[in-house]
Amino acid sequence: MASDTSGQRLFIGMGTCGIATGAEGVLAAVHEGFDKLKIEVPIVKTGCIGMCSQEVLLDVETPGRARVTYRQVQPEMVEDILQKHVVGGQPLAELAIGQIIGEGESAYEGIPGYQDLPVFKKQKRIVLRRCGFIDPDLIEDYFETEGYKGVEKAIKTMSPEQVREVVKESGLRGRGGGGFPAGLKWEFCANAYGDQKYLICNADEGDPGAFMDRSILEGDPHAVLEGMIIAGYAIGASYGYIYCRAEYPLAIKRLKTAIALAEERGYLGDNILGSDFSFRLRIKEGAGAFVCGEETALMASIEGRRGMPRSRPPFPAVKGLWGKPSNINNVETYACVPPIILHGAKNYAEVGTEGTKGTKVFALTGKIINTGLIEVAAGTTLKEIIHEIGGGIEEGRAFKAAQLGGPSGGCLPSYLAETAIDYDSLIQAGAMMGSGGVVVMDETDCMVDVARYFLNFTAAESCGKCVPCRLGTKIMLGILERITEGKGTPEDMENLKDLGQQIKSASLCGLGQTAPNPVLSTLRYFEDEYDAHINEGTCPAKVCTALITYHITDNCTGCTLCAKKCPVTAISGERKQLHTIDQELCTKCNMCFEVCPFNAIEKE
């Protein structure tokens, strides 16, 4: 049975999230299905479209009809989709999450349009506009979506000064977390004295729970290259480095392909587009030190030295890589540049707030339903992000707080959910934009434990150069560990506050200067939880194992499941009889709580 599949395309989400969920298997199943059905449809292997929790995503696009997205696709579902939708023209509405209805295309019945999906409704996609839509390994896909038009416009019609002016006017601020105006930074570097200048892309994304840059590099690598080429032109750099952590093998692979293709097409190399401007790019793989995301440590690492920050000034714009004037921006910042150049500063600045123009990409993780990647206009509130785009909290539990900006950031409690997400409002609220990680916490999260988690991270990632960070984080971590073990003392809270302030004010680099933030902000908004741990010996969220005990309630049906699963055989009881836990033996591993089908395990 052959059928007309001409003009149809399949899309498979082959970002790291897709692959991790089984996209390779789905792809194999698609090929098997092709053989079986004797069809051949082009497959677009896209990056992440943002709905990581719904991967593997498989889309079917038919000429004249909307593109239908199937979610959580398993290999065994593939044949059915191919048979019914690709061959038969009938989408499987029950497996679809939504449909993208292009201009002049007719929609299918019973499948919501993307524009109506809560997760997409409030998004404004500029940086992510190609992610999930193009094959990142095909430069033609990029060309078809305005690719390299920004470079062409800049080099052919604008002077470097004009490019810098446009970026300044756009109000673009560095998306790595610092929020320094990008155009101004470029100007410093352009005006710095030096025969050789370097451009650096910071792709050393290291915050736990942050994967914005990875997704951009995986889904739209040329956009980053294009932004860098424009920036190189604007500051007079002839050589650029992309410092990407080695833990991002797929991003590195796609970057390598993209660089080779851009070189082949003359967008990188000597005399780009026939101009005097020559620009080359090289990837430098980082070895996974968080501190190498700090710009001076990053440069030291590129130079082959130990990744340790140094004091500024001199700033990189004056004395950077190899002692030469250098400009560093992160992945997202560069990715913002091509549309700014192509469509003008005004167009970009229309989006966002007074102080924060444009959009920001966030990685949503934690106790939220729609974990994944989103892009919203600056000024969107935390509430909109969590409850609308993010779909709210799992199992209807109450939203408690969100940690913004990773280990450098702070937490915002639920009552500040109306805070608009822009650089300045967040600083005021004691958090920071950071690079864009949003970790959502609900009532089952202990804020002291959360602070301990982040301090554990920063203490381990401190390079050890300066005393306040090296020792201060270690000591703060020790205090937090004591508190979560129920051994805290009232002085501990004072010491945390005092030491936190000292570390902030005396540390050498951003890592140390922000490391106490998770502690200080949880102390600020959730002091009662600290108080409960220290003075009452309880963990209100029932997380800190030293402070809780497990009991079995009357709900118990005597199913014996908990007793079977208990690793230390602390649970005993006859079949169909109420079971009990031997507190002497219990290690508080939480296993019984997790397996009990009747909610009969209680934590106290």
């Binding site: 140094r310 000034p313 050890g464 300066c466 005393v467 306040p468 000591i475 004010s505 005396a506 050498l508």
Partner: protein, 867 residues
């Protein structure tokens, strides 16, 4: 451009770019520091130096933050004080308070600050650390429990020393300072790291657990090892040296840096093997005796020989002893024994070099000063083992090359340490320096790159030179020198283009033909106009502390003190090797050796042994019973450098003070004192009663030392010429012109070595190693641990052919003799050559080498096999 600002209410103006710390120091405002160090790039790690700036909430690390116009800085606000106390408390959470057993206790910066702030513990409680103490490395011990990670050691090891042996390992709280991959420290053991460590984390193993530092008295003196003449403080208690620190002030030329010898070599002074009493030979046995008997024997036996004329006796002066002692020695030889046969170990290198410089420029002295290396824009290390021979010069070269646009060219058969930092490395074959230098001159003249104005006005002999270097066109010497014609041309062009070129040479390296190398280099300096201005000229590096001084003092067969010529009609005496030959032939019957060990230090061990055994009477004045002293008829126990007063003249003509730091062993006497008493024993009045009196006498007799008096040498050294007491000394020579009118170009030919004979296929290179200096250091326990026996360097490819592996015992043979050594297989040395260190009396490289005063061969051919 300057900026003005206010610190603690006081106004100050400083150049823009000045750090807050330096601006405060200008106002004498004290800001504590741990990681900051004047010789290191600011690091900003310890944060103890934080200050507050009005208008900012942040604290600023003053050591790394530059000031700006109008800034108002406060260094002692409550906020600053609180921050500092927090830093101290943080460090005290883990830094062990094991002060009673810490070698740094008493000069520990952390101890001082904790004391000042009254902190004996931390409110944050103790943190358990599991960090190790390195007990394995020789000389330098590292206790990481005490380390505060200021990084001074790491940085000085890299920035100053160019080694990078120490680095931070691990991160965060687990950071430690150690060699990579968990190795035991294996480095140059300069101990710079020890000296800069603010706490007791890195320290001398020799010093630890010996005495508390507050019981030590520092005595400022000049290092007794190489020709650099580092200023150091011997830290002494009673009659013992316990510790050494380099001195870093405007009066020192080493800026506090030392090498392994300077820092750890002092152990020889208090060695139990020191000679304690005079020895007089009774039959076959040297027996302990009295000074009276020793003197009596000397007078009788010398008088018996000199009855027929002084020419039958001779003297070997000392490149170790002071100027005063050498001055007296030659005076004793000339006026008491009536002999002009005086020479020293300088004969085998530095004396030839000085003769070459004398003939070229009219003064027998290095033209440049070490300080002026900082003004060179090209440094040419020509057959110079810079790091081994004059360690601190290596550091100065390194700094110049790293911190400026100055370039470095190294020509050497071995990849010496500086090669790593060189712009150009010319892998010259041994013994071909003259050909290489002539080829450089050839290119410069052929391409018209000479300094025409300089040559026209200040140089003569150009045409003869031009003709002679015709034979040295780059292509013609490619094979002989092993350096490609293209490299020779490029090097010549770089040298010609540079505005100030310093040429460093080790004249004593190789086969005792350094004089020709220096002469050829003098031609190069003259044609390029690189004499007579700061940062240019020729610096032959002397191996021992007072080689230059011994020559200046007239310990030469053909010169009187101050390089003055002999009186009209007098014949020059025999030189060092001439004396050996005469003694071997029975014509020289008596010899007086002061502070020298010719059996190990002179070439041709067989000849020297035969000569010394053949003597009727041999007096050796030394501090140990050296292998030479064992052959003596009378041995006079002298005192070591740190036990006497005097002056040394270093390799750049700098006359520096030597101070008595400790009392010598009871029955020993200072060399100058012994000589004075010998004058008396020979019936003359004792000429001097104190060493400084002799210094004044020298000033009176030697014109270039005219202004060099003890009073002026309290802190600073003085570079001669220094004709009168108002003269500041002369850092570089010939600025005003050459004494003879013009600089003299001389035709210098490369000696043809011929091919290596098939039975001796390898070429020998000999020289110093880092850890020894002559024979004294063989009595320094720590240094001996590092380098107990001669390790002969051999290229891996030769080693493979000879089936030799690293550590094998090997036998090296030449037509002169053989020696045994331990193989060190290393690519540092080029194929076809073998390097053998000097210094070892029981593994003596001079058994292989002959002395060839007419220089018909510039290399020694050897064979190597497994022993």
């Amino acid at each position: 451009m300057t900026v003005s600002l206010t610190i603690d209410g006081k106004h100050v103006e400083v150049p823009s770019g000045t750090t807050m710390l330096h601006a405060a120091q200008k106002l004498d405002i004290d800001i504590p520091t741990f990681c900051d160090h004047k010789h290191l790039v600011p690091f900003g790690a310890c944060r103890i130096c934080v200050v507050e700036v009005e208008g900012s909430d942040k604290l600023f690390a003053s050591c790394v933050t530059p000031v700006s116009q109008g800034m108002v800085i406060n260094t002692a606000t409550p906020k600053v004080k609180e921050a500092r106390e927090t830093i101290i408390e943080l460090l005290l959470t883990y830094h062990p308070l094991d002060c009673p057993v810490c070698p740094q206790s008493g000069r520990c910066h952390l101890q001082d600050l904790a004391f000042e702030h009254g902190k004996d513990s931390s409110r944050f409680g103790p943190i358990q650390v599991e960090k190790k103490v390195d007990y394995l490395s020789p000389l330098i011990e590292s206790n990481q429990k005490r380390c505060i990670q200021c990084g001074r050691c790491v940085r000085i090891c890299d920035e100053v020393q160019g080694e990078g042996e120490l680095d931070f390992v691990e991160r965060g709280f687990n950071t430690v300072v150690e060699p990579s991959f968990g190795r035991v420290m294996d480095c140059e053991f300069c101990g710079q790291c020890i000296q800069v460590c603010p706490v007791g984390s890195l320290y001398s193993r020799i010093f630890k657990h010996t005495t508390p530092v507050w019981e030590l008295t520092p005595v400022r003196t000049t290092c007794p090892f190489c020709g650099v003449g580092c200023t150091l403080n011997l830290e002494v208690k009673k009659d013992r040296i316990y510790h050494v620190l380099g001195v870093d002030d405007e009066g020192s030329n080493n800026e506090g840096f030392l090498c392994a010898k300077g820092r750890f070599g002092y152990e020889y002074v208090n060695h139990p093997d020191r000679l304690g009493k005079p020895l007089v030979r009774k039959g076959d046995v040297l027996e302990e005796s009295t000074w009276e008997e020793a003197y009596r024997t000397i007078v009788e036996r010398f008088n018996a020989i000199t009855a027929a004329g002084g020419a039958a006796v001779g003297g070997i002066a000392s490149a170790r002893c002071t100027n005063e002692e050498n001055y007296l020695f030659q005076k004793f030889l000339r006026s008491v024994l009536g002999s002009g046969n005086i020479d020293s170990v300088a004969r085998f290198g530095q004396a030839q070099a000085m003769e070459a410089l004398d003939r070229a420029f009219g003064v027998a002295a290095p033209t440049d000063s070490l300080d002026d290396l900082d003004k060179s824009d090209l440094i040419f290390a020509l057959d110079a083992n810079v790091t081994e021979d004059a360690h601190i010069v290596g550091l100065k070269v390194l700094r110049r090359v790293r911190n400026s646009d100055a370039s470095l060219i190294v020509a050497n058969p071995r990849k010496i340490k500086l090669v790593k930092f060189a712009d150009t490395y010319l892998p010259m074959k041994p013994g071909s320096a003259v050909a290489l230098t002539n080829a450089l001159v050839n290119v410069i003249l052929a391409e018209g790159l000479e300094d025409k104005e300089f040559v026209a006005s200040r140089v003569s002999g150009l045409e003869d030179l031009r003709r002679s270097v015709d034979a040295y066109a780059p292509e013609k010497v490619e094979e002989l020198t092993g350096v490609s014609a293209e490299s020779i041309r490029e090097t010549a062009r770089s040298i010609a283009a540079a505005s100030a070129v310093t040429i460093l040479i080790s004249p004593a390296s190789g086969s005792y033909v350094g004089g020709d190398t220096v002469a050829a280099a003098a031609n190069l300096a003259l044609v390029t106009g690189n004499v007579g201005k700061a940062g240019s000229g020729i610096l032959p590096l002397s191996e021992y502390n007072n080689v230059q001084g011994a020559m200046d003092m007239g310990a030469l067969p053909d010169r009187l003190p101050g390089n003055q010529t002999l009186p009209e009609g007098s014949q020059p005496g025999l030189d060092a090797m001439g004396m050996m030959e005469a003694a071997a032939a029975g014509n020289l019957k008596g010899l007086f050796i002061m502070g020298e060990n010719p059996l190990t230090a002179f070439p041709d061990r067989d000849l020297v042994l035969k000569a010394l055994q053949n003597l009727e009477f041999l007096v050796v004045q030394d501090i140990f019973l050296t292998d030479t002293a064992r052959l003596a008829d009378v041995v006079l126990p002298a005192t070591a450098g740190p036990e006497k007063d005097g002056t040394f003249t270093n390799t750049d003509r700098r006359v520096q003070r030597v101070r008595k730091a400790i009392e010598p062993p009871a029955k020993t006497r200072a060399d100058w004192k012994i000589l004075c008493e010998l004058f008396e024993a020979f019936g003359q009045p004792q000429p001097y009663t104190g060493a400084m009196e002799i210094t004044r006498a020298i000033a009176g007799e030697v014109p270039s030392y005219g202004g060099i008096t003890p009073e002026r040498l309290v802190k600073n050294g003085l570079h001669w010429p220094c004709p009168d007491t108002s003269h500041p000394g002369t850092s570089f020579l010939h600025g005003e012109g050459f004494p003879g009118g013009k600089g003299q170009l001389r035709v210098i030919e490369q000696q043809k070595n011929g091919g290596a004979p098939s039975e001796y296929p390898l070429t020998l290179i000999s020289g110093m190693i880092l850890f020894h200096s002559g024979t004294t250091t063989k009595w320094a326990k720590g240094l001996n641990e590092l380098a107990p026996e001669a390790r002969a360097e051999i290229n891996p490819s030769d080693a493979k052919d000879l089936e030799i592996t690293d550590g094998d015992r090997i036998r090296i043979k030449s037509e002169k003799g053989h020696m045994d050594a331990v193989a060190k297989v290393t690519p540092r040395i080029q194929k076809g050559t073998v390097f053998v260190p000097a210094h070892y009396s029981n593994m003596s490289v001079n058994s292989l080498m002959r002395y060839d005063p007419i220089r018909e061969r510039t290399v020694t051919h050897v064979s190597v096999s497994r022993a």
